[in-house]
């Protein structure tokens, strides 16, 4: 190929018709409360590890809805399961169960 000195950036558009939501659907099966997230960000704001690792339950849920699996896996590794997010979630989502479920799905995928 001729080296033009530049390359094309990939599109950043999420095509909702093509997103693979298998992991999200599996998450809903294991933790139905995931569907009721309103994206308020309480979980991320209170997260002990967020500032260093980027962990955010809100972003984990959204990431799985939009097929951003790689980023989700990276975030999940930052969780210490301290449970503060469970305490602050206004929808009463069992975030601890949600995180463990997401980790399990991600681990099964990794095999």
């Amino acid at each position: 190929m001729i080296p033009f000195g530049f390359s094309l950036s990939p599109s950043s558009v999420t095509d909702l018709d093509k997103v693979d939501t298998r992991r999200y659907r599996e998450l809903l099966r294991l933790e139905p409360g995931a569907a009721t997230c309103i994206g308020c960000g309480s979980c991320s704001a209170t997260c002990t590890s967020s500032a260093w690792t980027g962990m955010s339950v809100r972003k984990v849920i959204l990431g799985l809805q939009r097929g951003r699996d790689v980023e989700v896996d990276a975030m999940l590794r930052g969780c210490m399961l301290c449970g503060k997010c469970t305490m602050v979630c206004p929808r009463g989502i069992n975030t601890r169960n949600l995180i463990l479920a997401a980790m399990r799905i991600s681990k099964e995928d990794g095999k």
Binding site: S12, V13, T14, L16, A35, T36, R68, R91
Partner: protein
């Protein structure tokens, strides 16, 4: 203003001997009907007129009402049965109004002149004409309908835009013509967020296999049990909510529409193909209210709705003695709010008439 009134008064010729009716209610929507019913039970003679050939106003076109999925028709039937003692004139409007002492001489389109001590304006709202937001393609693409069209389809079931295609994915666009300075309507219409959630659930009940998406700027679900609707939409019906305003709609080769928005929680643009797109057209002031307001010498507020004496303590009072308001003629309201205001206006009129 005084000059204008005097001119009208003089031009109306020799003073007739009026046979006073008590109250004229303009508009037989739910607000007008409820006010008429209350005034009747307070013992007044009430004449109720409506431009349209039917009573009930906008609610006559709706199907099931939030928050309890009540039949819209049962609400109107109930109200109609409570105004049996009033004179209801349909397909009737005001031709001219002249102030006459402490009352009004009103010429109706039927030709008759009637005399009233007080006038209640319950003239309601207009639905934002969705075709004005050209980027959404209403009236251009058959896949794009409005909230009002959808209510009619729930009632009658004969809209080819829905019947003639396989419905596999449906989108709802919030704030169409509301919260939109460019469209001339900075106000929030209040009822369309909850209507979208209600209609999304109903669509899901009609088409259980369809994926349903709501595109919103904020979800303003302020009322009694509205948040429960939202939770149920998420949890029981799997409806997807995307925070982002739809920027454009175009037609795909296969007969679906392609919708673009920014998924602002995710910080990325999204696109999706949908079989049906429902625009949540907002509540705006009536496009034909200006001449009537001028005739009655009442003013418009900066949002285009009728101007109240005070937006906190006197929403049902105009700045003119003897002229009152109820319902959505002063701004977007739900049915319970409009009904409560109608009752409050009836009391206001009662106190006013007692003081004459």
């Amino acid at each position: 203003m005084a000059k204008k009134l005097r001119k009208k008064y003089i031009s109306s010729g020799p003073m007739p001997v009026p046979k006073w009716e008590n109250v004229l209610v303009v508009g037989a929507g739910i607000a007008g009907l409820e006010a008429a019913s209350q005034l009747l039970s307070l013992g007044y003679k009430v004449t109720l007129i409506d431009k349209a050939s039917y009573a009930g106003g906008h609610v006559a076109s709706w199907h099931k009402l939030f928050p309890d999925r009540t039949d819209a028709s049962s609400v109107i039937t109930g109200l109609l049965s409570s105004i049996a003692g009033a004179t209801l004139l349909l397909s009737t409007e005001i031709l001219s109004v002249h102030r006459l002492g402490e009352g009004f001489a009103v010429v109706l389109s039927g030709g008759e002149t009637l005399y009233f001590k007080a006038i209640l304006l319950a003239t309601g709202f207009s639905l934002f004409p969705a075709e004005k937001k050209e980027e959404y393609g209403y009236g251009v693409y058959n896949q794009v309908i409005t909230n009002s069209d959808l209510e009619q389809w729930f009632n009658e079931g004969n809209d080819p835009r829905i019947n003639d295609r396989k419905i596999s994915s449906v989108g709802f666009v919030h704030c169409v013509g509301s919260r939109d300075i460019k469209a001339g309507n900075p106000q929030c219409s209040k009822v369309c967020c909850i209507t979208a959630v209600k209609q999304a659930i109903e669509i899901k009940q009609h088409f259980p296999d369809a994926e349903v998406w709501c595109f919103y700027m904020d979800l303003r679900l302020f009322g009694k049990k509205y948040e429960d609707f939202y939770i149920s939409a998420q949890k029981d019906y799997g409806i997807h909510f995307i925070r982002g305003r739809v920027s454009e709609v175009s037609e795909a080769i296969d007969g679906e529409v392609i919708v673009k928005a920014e998924d602002t929680l995710n910080g990325r643009p999204v696109k999706i193909k949908l079989s049906l797109l429902v625009l949540m057209a907002g509540i705006i002031s009536r496009n034909d209210i200006q001449p009537l307001a001028e005739d009655l010498s009442v003013m418009m507020d900066s949002d285009g709705f009728l101007l109240s004496r005070d937006n906190i303590t006197g929403i049902t009072r105009s700045q003119r003695p003897g002229i009152f308001y109820a319902g959505t003629c002063t701004g977007p309201k739900t049915i319970p709010e409009s009904l409560a205001e109608a009752r409050s206006a009836a009391i206001d009129i009662h106190n006013y008439l007692r003081g004459l």
